[in-house]
């Protein structure tokens, strides 16, 4: 199937694949996954070649392209390796806020070095598992020179490597709707009062270690506010809409990468006098995996294309994430099964694609959360109930 990608888009795919083939060394990836360390040198190289911030404006050293091109890069890098690919794509996590909602001065200051792969940015929103941002307890208080941030954030990706954090804070506790009193700030890692705890031992996504980050009287200037006061919640929702499409793309690449490895294995592995590929049930499994991937790809590309055309909806992005992650779980699971004992061994890689698929499925909201988003848009939000 072909999504009618343009020649330029196909070239981006090809260039990303060539880059990954050249730089994604399996031994290096397996060793670093074990110790949860991220190869920043490869991020720099990806930045130099334009794979980071491909959707940033050219004024900020970006590629000036859209969400669909960003999706193509994410998918391709994750296809080569789900752990390193997703980490490279997450390195610009926090910068997305600047790009979409930041004022030009702040963008000019930070975005070029993100696009060049020299800066890692992240977001600090969650305060507990399954956290509702509307219930944010971290505070931002106005001071003479700017804002003072206090609070503890959990599950901050790249917490120990990030050069800056985008922090969601309550700046007004008097508003009737809790979500109206939230604002976003950029806090540079070097600021006094920021403490990063030891990163969690991650199940998947082992190059984007989560950690708890505490902010104790962290002062930032007025200019570090993203957008205007009180827009934190709506900006976060808008960010999530776009980010879910990117997670769908990573899940899609993860599924495709596991599929590639499973297909190569069943073609070559012989049992009972023939290759596994000759067994009818194997053929059906391969067919099912391929069909799931095409379905996920269509939803993901459509959501990205819709975003680029100004027709973005929460429903489309949540559907892409729900189905692409489900596809990734089913396909990576089946890939392990097709490889048998080898599938369970680290060196055959599909086992980490499976863990990374689960990471994509839960991060930014497990399936139930995605379904709520879709249903809210299809049916309307439920009433308060009795």
């Amino acid at each position: 199937m072909d999504f009618n990608l343009s020649k330029a888009q196909k070239q981006i795919q090809k260039a990303a694949w060539e880059f990954a083939r050249g730089k994604f060394d399996r031994e290096m990836i397996l060793a670093r996954s074990l110790t949860q360390s991220f190869p920043r040198r490869i991020l720099e190289e990806a930045g130099d070649l334009g794979f980071i911030g491909i959707h940033f404006d050219e004024a900020y050293d970006g590629g000036g392209l859209g969400s669909l091109e960003h999706v193509l890069v994410s998918e391709t890098l994750c296809r080569k390796d789900s752990t390193l690919g997703s980490a490279l794509m997450f390195a610009g996590y926090g910068a997305e806020f600047l790009l979409r909602f930041g004022d030009p001065e702040l963008c000019k200051k930070h975005l070029p070095s993100v696009a060049n792969g020299r800066t890692i940015s992240t977001g600090a929103f969650l305060e507990n598992p399954g956290h509702d941002p509307g219930a944010t307890a971290a505070t931002g208080e106005k001071t003479e020179s700017g804002w003072c941030i206090n609070g503890v954030k959990q599950f901050v990706p790249f917490a120990d490597q990030a050069d800056f954090y985008i922090v969601l804070c309550r700046t007004d506790s008097r508003t009737s709707a809790a979500k109206d009193g939230l604002s976003l700030f950029l806090a540079e890692a070097g600021r006094q009062g920021i403490q990063v705890n030891k990163p969690c031992d991650n199940l998947g996504g082992r190059m984007i270690g989560f950690a708890e980050v505490s902010f104790a009287d962290v002062h930032v200037p007025h200019s570090n506010m993203i957008g205007t006061e009180g827009t934190g919640y709506s900006h976060l929702q808008r960010f999530l809409l776009e980010n879910r499409i990117q997670i769908a793309a990573m899940a899609l690449g993860t599924a495709q990468g596991a599929f590639d490895r499973a297909l190569a294995h069943v073609r070559q592995r012989r049992q009972f006098g023939k290759t596994l590929a000759e067994f009818p049930v194997t053929r059906h499994k391969i067919a099912e995996m391929a069909a799931r991937i095409e379905g996920a790809r269509y939803l993901t590309y459509c959501a990205a294309d819709g975003f680029d055309q100004g027709r973005a909806t929460h429903r489309d992005s949540a559907m892409a994430k729900l189905m692409a992650a489900r596809c990734a779980m089913a396909v990576t699971d089946e890939a392990i099964q097709l490889l048998g004992g080898y599938g369970y061994m680290t060196e055959y890689e599909v086992e980490h694609f499976y863990r990374d698929a689960k990471h994509a499925e839960i991060f930014q909201g497990p399936p139930g959360v995605q379904k709520n988003i879709i249903a809210d848009e299809l049916i309307g939000k439920p009433g308060p109930g009795r």
């Binding site: 397996l30 969650l126 598992p129 399954g130 956290h131 509702d132 509307g134 219930a135 959990q154 599950f155 969690c200 031992d201 991650n202 199940l203 998947g204 996504g205 989560f210 012989r270 049992q271 009972f272 049930v281 779980m329 699971d333 392990i336 099964q337 048998g340 004992g341 599938g343 369970y344 061994m345 680290t346 060196e347 086992e351 980490h352 499976y354 863990r355 689960k358 990471h359 499925e361 839960i362 991060f363 909201g365 497990p366 399936p367 139930g368 379904k371």
Partner: protein, 381 residues
């Protein structure tokens, strides 16, 4: 209704084992997971306490119990959330080959050590090119005077590093029919020509020492033949039923444990709206559906245990149970993680380890595809 007739003695055994595991095993599990192996000393302690080989005769120092003791050990070990101390494999899969097929001399020589934990065992069937297809085994065993010379390589061998005794499946190259060529041999640790290969890195079961084994001109006395020459296949077939049943017991216990942790988590933690997760309709349905599947698995399994203990041929049902219950454990691990949200993505969540550990269950002891193949064959399809 309780299908299994546990006696007071069984209950006391379970209680004693649970206490032992909570004081001498659980506190060490995180370290063993890091070490990628368990110390041999814990095997000795299991032996001293009478928890190894519970079905072996008291003549060899064991407790001489019925298969329910094995079930208890499998269930209680599953609660420790690790698989390094793979006593089930030793007690209920490997040692039964010796118990059932060995000569009196062999039994006298080996069984007391198996029971005491001095001898840790492994069984070496799988080879790089012979997984599901045992007829593809390439390891050879050739007689030379009073000795047998073994050549070949084995892989994915559980307890492979710690094993003091390995039961090796090897074929006589002079026999053409692969089903008549296979024999089982006992190879002791430190036999010249027997070397351990790599300790394999896996998604889960980190504390379990899965390894490659190499046999190069490995000479063992002819007396180390287990059972009758050329009967390897038949012996494997006889014992695989119990291996698969034990795998089902482990998977069932793992599913029950994950569900218990997750249910507790959902009771104790609130959702985004500040309500206990367990009070959310969607979470309730997910928990109820899993609990239903787990109960179905338990009922099927307990009935099979009764039939297996009665000596019935339950090869079809055992194959069904192995595939269905190991898939159940995998499914439960996936769904339970979702209910933990971001916490499920970290190893601090016990289900994360179980998610990695249980994924091998649909593969080992015969893949679930092979289980369906066997069931189909014996159903006359």
């Amino acid at each position: 209704m309780q299908l299994l007739s546990y006696t007071e003695a069984h209950h006391r055994f379970r209680k004693r084992l649970r206490e032992f595991l909570s004081t001498e095993v659980s506190p060490c599990v995180d370290q063993w997971e890091k070490d990628r192996i368990v110390p041999k000393s814990v095997w000795r302690r299991m032996g001293q306490e009478g928890f190894l080989c519970p079905t072996v005769s008291a003549d060899y120092g064991a407790i001489g119990g019925d298969f329910l003791y094995s079930v208890i050990v499998s269930e209680e070990l599953a609660r420790t959330n690790h698989s390094g101390l793979f006593a089930q494999l030793h007690s209920d899969v490997v040692v039964p080959y010796i118990d059932a097929f060995a000569s009196r001399e062999q039994k006298a020589k080996y069984l007391p050590g198996c029971v005491s934990g001095e001898l840790i065992t492994a069984v070496a069937m799988t080879e790089p090119d012979a997984g599901s297809d045992l007829a593809g085994i390439n390891t050879t065993a050739e007689e030379d005077g009073e000795e047998v010379v073994i050549n070949g390589s084995k892989t994915f061998i559980s307890n492979g590093i710690n094993a003091d005794l390995v039961i090796v499946a090897a074929k006589d190259p002079a026999v053409e029919n692969p089903y008549e060529a296979l024999s089982l041999y006992i190879v002791e640790d430190k036999t010249p020509g027997f070397k351990r290969g790599r300790h394999l890195d896996k998604m889960g079961m980190w504390s379990q020492d899965t390894a490659e084994l190499f046999f190069t001109g490995c000479r063992i006395p002819k007396a180390n033949l287990l059972g009758t020459k050329g009967q390897g296949f038949s012996m494997l077939m006889q014992k695989l039923q119990q291996e698969r049943l034990v795998t089902s017991v482990c998977a069932q216990a793992a599913a029950e444990m994950m569900l218990e942790w997750t249910t507790n988590y959902c009771r104790q933690h609130t959702d985004a709206a500040g309500k206990p997760i367990a009070r959310e309709q969607a979470a309730q349905f997910a928990l109820v559906e899993m609990a239903t599947d787990v109960k179905l698995g338990r009922t099927f399994l307990d009935k099979l245990i009764v039939e297996h203990m009665a000596g019935e041929n339950v090869v079809v049902e055992t194959s069904m149970a192995k595939y269905w219950i190991t898939d159940l454990a995998k499914r439960v691990s996936q769904q339970c993680l979702d209910l933990h949200a971001e916490f499920g993505l970290t190893e601090a969540c016990p289900v994360a380890r179980a998610f990695r550990d249980t994924r091998v269950m649909p593969i080992f002891a015969g893949t679930n595809e092979i289980m369906k193949q066997i069931a189909g064959k014996f159903m006359g399809l």
